[in-house]
């Protein structure tokens, strides 16, 4: 059976594309057949994060407009061979893909894949409606900032209106030191406010940037904290009960020592 997940957020730039790439790779590392679809029309990025930018022949609009069969447009990953990308189009018209067209495409693709991940554009416009139309599950990404959480709440409301009932939360870019000091919302705070099931918290991690630079998602880097957090998310998606990771804590003494430069 195939599960279709849309990765969405209210506020832009909170890590949707990063999350799509990492979960996609993570599922493929487990041997799952995965398709990732970039629906951020005009702003193509998912190909870059996966290191596939030089291998694109056709795009989503070519497929939905009927010019080519979807199998022709899929780009297979070199290293993770069960992972395929369907790149977005670079056209300016944000409404180039209609919700019905994506539903039809995804329905056709369901037979060939275990997971289909849809990377959603930011905002509440038609691009969002298109991206969520075909999804069974919505993964809402937020950062621990008030504006981002507020916008996430709006998106959750919209998902409800579109009858999307399975919604899961991912909190990205947590800074453990700030949480420790009480200067950042923590996962439980956000959980309580949005009342959603949380399937992961990802620390703010330089390795995300270096991994993105190389086109190899951070989940492939064993030693990185963010990579570990994404591997946990993938495990939870696969139905494993993984405890939430605790970040290294800074105790009272450590704070004293830092204060006096010791």
């Amino acid at each position: 059976m195939c599960e279709v997940m849309v990765v969405t957020s209210g506020k832009g730039g909170v890590g949707k594309t990063t999350t799509t790439a990492n979960i996609g790779v993570g599922l493929a590392m487990r041997g799952k057949r995965v398709a990732v679809i970039d629906t951020d029309t005009g702003l193509r990025n998912l190909d870059l994060l996966l290191g596939l930018e030089n291998r694109i022949m056709y795009d989503l609009v070519d497929v939905t407009s009927g010019r080519v069969a979807y199998k022709k447009a899929l780009v297979r990953h070199k290293k993770f061979e069960t992972l395929y990308l369907l790149p977005t189009s670079q056209v300016r018209d944000k409404s180039a893909v209609k919700p019905e067209q994506l539903v039809e495409l995804v329905t056709e693709m369901r037979n060939e894949f275990d997971y289909i991940l849809i990377d959603c554009p930011a905002g509440l416009e038609q691009g969002f409606q298109t991206a969520i139309a075909a999804a069974d599950v919505a993964l809402v990404v937020t950062t621990p900032e008030i504006s981002s959480v507020r916008d996430a709440d709006k998106i959750i409301g919209e998902l409800g209106r579109a009858d999307k009932e399975t919604i899961k939360l991912i909190v990205n870019r947590i800074r453990p030191m700030m949480v420790e000091k009480g200067d950042m919302l923590n996962m439980d705070d956000i959980n309580e406010i949005l009342s959603l099931e949380c399937i992961g918290q990802i620390p703010d991690d330089e390795a995300v940037v270096t991994a993105t630079n190389r086109g190899e998602p951070v989940i492939t880097i064993d030693s990185s904290m963010a990579g570990r957090a994404y591997r946990n998310i993938v495990a939870r998606i696969c139905g494993e009960a993984v405890p939430f990771m605790t970040f290294p804590r800074e105790g009272f003494l450590a704070r004293l020592r830092r204060l006096f430069g010791m």
Partner: protein, 92 residues
């Protein structure tokens, strides 16, 4: 200086900004969800006082109106103290 020292040690009395953020978020989200702005609440309060005054002697200043959210639902909570009722209620 002493205060900032305490704060750096994490034992100051000032609320950490994370707590402030949570309180502010809770409020703004309730208003977003119900699409009731603080301005509307103010007008509602005034109207409510007008109507209630036709029936009760109320204490405007101790009246408390708020929107509260519990998991997935929102509720309007009102606490309206009535003036000069204490003695009478006890007698009946």
């Amino acid at each position: 200086m002493f205060k900032s020292l305490l704060k750096m040690l994490g034992i100051g009395d000032e609320q950490p900004s994370g707590v402030v953020a949570k309180d502010r978020l809770k409020m703004v989200i309730i208003h977003d969800r119900t699409s009731v702005s603080p301005e509307v609440m103010k007008r509602f309060r005034a109207d409510l006082i007008k109507v209630l005054s036709n029936y009760f002697e109320i204490d405007e200043h101790d009246m408390n109106l708020s929107l509260e959210s519990e998991s997935n639902s929102c509720a309007l909570i009102a606490s309206i103290p009535l003036r000069g009722m204490r003695g009478r209620v006890a007698k009946t």
